[in-house]
């Protein structure tokens, strides 16, 4: 059976004044219906670019994207237009992702207008109101402007706009990072409810490990454009294999006072993604680095069932 979404060896390089920026370097994963793949990594690791390239907002440099068994890599404008009914995106910054000069109602209705769904007049209004109810937005806001609302409500407008075309796959680019903790929880619950009701599959991009653990079925960790680890959500936290993921996990401050465990503090800073040298890009900061790490790109191997790691010395590190 074919997966809903299959990405093979996807690469995305950007031309900059000082050389090629390797934003996404050889990423492979699959996503099925009603499933959430969490993509986690620090800033500059290419997770946002991955999301936008999968969606077709950027043209892929190399590799293939298959959606519902059809190759949609760098499709024509018409095909891209047609695909919007299937694939949508939710943005991070609730303030910047809404047109300040359009009312809530118009913003949600715009996708319907573009595709001519629900004729003009009241039944398009009815659909908009339905969507507002769906995302828990009070109907009295239909004529108000984004700047009159708080962050939480604006994010709900973004979600409603994404759902308008009843897509089957949504890229969520840090949907809750810009929100306060209590509002964050409301939106996460909302997204989980929508997934069940609308049978959606998410590509959930975030830098916050606790959020990704809570919401994802499978989790992929990225570092400077490269995939370092991919496994089931719960499995990743039980047996963490890649040194970067270990460091990432230990760096997160826990909200409890009985945590007197040794913390792995990484040395140095992110290296530049422009014209990167071959080999594992985490090597310069890795405590287990060996000369091999600096020469050859580590290939993604299935070290444990359904648990892939890209590291030359993964077995030695974990004593497998």
């Amino acid at each position: 059976m074919s997966h809903l979404l299959e990405v093979k060896n996807l690469k995305k390089y950007f031309k900059t004044a000082n050389g090629a920026l390797h934003a996404v370097d050889d990423v492979t994963f699959t996503l099925d219906e009603n499933e959430t793949l969490g993509v986690v990594g620090e800033s500059g690791c290419g997770k946002s670019t991955l999301g936008r390239t999968v969606l077709g907002l950027h043209d892929a440099t190399e590799g293939e994207i298959w959606f519902d068994g059809e190759n949609i890599t760098n499709v024509s404008k018409a095909k891209f237009h047609e695909l919007r009914k299937e694939m949508q995106i939710i943005f991070q910054d609730p303030y910047a992702s809404l047109n300040p000069r359009m009312t809530v109602g118009d913003t949600i209705a715009e996708p319907l207008q573009i595709y001519g769904m629900f004729t003009e007049g009241n039944d398009r209004d009815v659909r908009v109101k339905e969507l507002m109810d769906l995302v828990g937005l009070d109907q009295r806001f239909i004529n108000s402007y984004p700047h009159e609302l708080d962050g939480g409500r604006r994010q709900r407008i973004g979600i409603a706009r994404a759902l308008a075309l009843e897509p089957r796959f949504i890229v969520c680019d840090e949907p809750v990072s810009a929100l306060d903790v209590s509002i964050q929880a409301q939106i996460l619950n909302l997204m989980q409810d929508l997934q069940e009701k609308q049978n959606l599959s998410y590509l959930f991009i975030t830098h916050n490990l606790s959020v990704v653990k809570h919401i994802s079925d499978k989790i992929m960790v990225m570092y400077l454009g490269q995939m370092v680890e991919l496994s089931d959500g719960k499995e990743l936290f039980v047996s963490t294999l890649h040194p970067y993921t270990k460091a990432l996990l230990s760096a997160i401050p826990r909200a409890s006072i009985h945590q007197n465990r040794q913390r792995i503090i990484l040395k140095g800073e992110l290296t530049s993604p422009i014209n990167p040298k071959p080999g594992c890009r985490f090597a310069p900061r890795c405590n287990y680095a060996t000369p091999a790490c600096f020469e050859k790109n580590p290939a993604l191997e299935e070290v444990l069932p359904n648990h892939f790691v890209a590291c030359h010395n993964v077995k030695e590190i974990n004593g497998l």
């Binding site: 950007f14 900059t16 800033s43 690791c45 950027h58 990072s177």
Partner: protein, 321 residues
């Protein structure tokens, strides 16, 4: 810069050749016979097709020959460079007055926002940009030259003569500079590093002059550059009011008499000085703002215009929790 210059010459060439007048008649006067007119047109090259004339003009230009003036038969270069320093001096003086008065008032009214000083200077600035400079010039002559007799009313021979003209144009420019300085300072006042400076226990005066002003200089310098360019053009009117022997008067007469070489030469010189000033402004930016300097030095020269620090696609924005 070169393409702009060529473009400028082309535009003026087109404009002049469109005008119905015939320079030959203007030169030889009404009594000249048709044969003499025809003969003169030939040796002036006016009968050649448009493109040939343009190429020939540019070719001479490259050899530094601006052609000879139809009326005075003097080399255009000599005639222009005899009078260009006067216009340059006049415009620079006006810009200096504009800069000093403008920046000073701009800073004080930005720092003392919501006070009466801020409101009064803003209203005066509004009045300043609404007054036609030649009207102001006439008024100044009535009061200061004729009424009080402090300054001569025309001519441009010594410092005494410079006062009225540069004040007239300078004050109008000052209003523009003041408004720009004020809004630039108000932008900077809201930045975080100003709060950091205050948190260091820095005195208010130091915060303004060593933290706020350096950061506000870029938009201010941009406006000054624009003012100088507009000043060169505007001098044409003010030179007429104060009888200043600059290239402004030369140009207006030249256009009146269809003296092609002088018009082209004059416009070229003004356009050249305008571009040079812009170049100086760009260089100045590098001194004011290290971020721009780093764009030039070391890495390949990436010419980023002032206001578009385009965010490279794909670079994550710092993910704030």
């Amino acid at each position: 810069m070169i393409p702009v210059m060529l473009g400028v010459v082309l535009v003026i060439f087109v404009m002049l050749s469109l005008s119905p007048g015939d320079p030959a008649v203007q030169m030889l006067g009404p009594d000249a016979t048709p044969e003499q007119l025809e003969e003169l047109r030939d040796d002036l090259g006016l009968n050649d097709p448009f493109l040939v004339r343009y190429v020939k003009y540019v070719w001479n230009l490259l050899h530094g020959d601006l052609g000879t003036s139809y009326t005075t038969k003097q080399p255009v270069a000599k005639e222009i460079f005899e009078r260009f320093p006067t216009t340059l001096l006049f415009t620079t003086l006006a810009c200096i007055v504009g800069a000093i008065v403008g920046i000073l008032f701009g800073i004080v009214s930005a720092v003392k926002q919501y006070t009466w000083f801020d409101n009064v200077s803003r209203v005066i600035a509004l009045i300043g940009i609404s007054v036609p400079s030649f009207w102001l010039g006439l008024m100044f002559i009535i009061w200061f030259s004729v009424g009080l007799g402090w300054f001569p009313s025309s001519g441009f021979y010594g410092p005494k003569y410079w006062v009225l003209p540069s004040l007239t144009v300078g004050l109008v420019q000052a209003s523009n500079v003041m408004r720009q300085t004020r809004s630039a300072m108000l932008d900077v006042v809201r930045q975080d590093y100003i709060r950091t400076a205050r948190a260091k226990g820095q005195s208010e005066m130091k915060v303004i002059f060593s933290h706020e002003l350096p950061n506000a200089l870029i938009p201010i310098v941009t406006v000054l550059g624009m003012q100088f360019g507009r000043g060169m053009g505007g001098s044409i009117i003010s030179e007429q009011v104060f009888a200043i022997p600059g290239i402004g008067m030369l140009m207006t007469n030249a256009i009146g008499n269809l003296n092609y070489p002088v018009v082209q030469g004059g416009v070229l010189v003004i356009a050249l000085s305008f571009s040079i000033v812009n170049l100086l402004i760009d260089i100045l930016y590098a001194f004011i703002d290290p971020r721009i300097k780093s764009l030039y030095s070391g890495k390949k020269r990436v010419r980023k215009t002032k206001n578009e620090f385009v965010r490279e696609p794909g670079k994550e924005s710092a993910a704030n929790g």
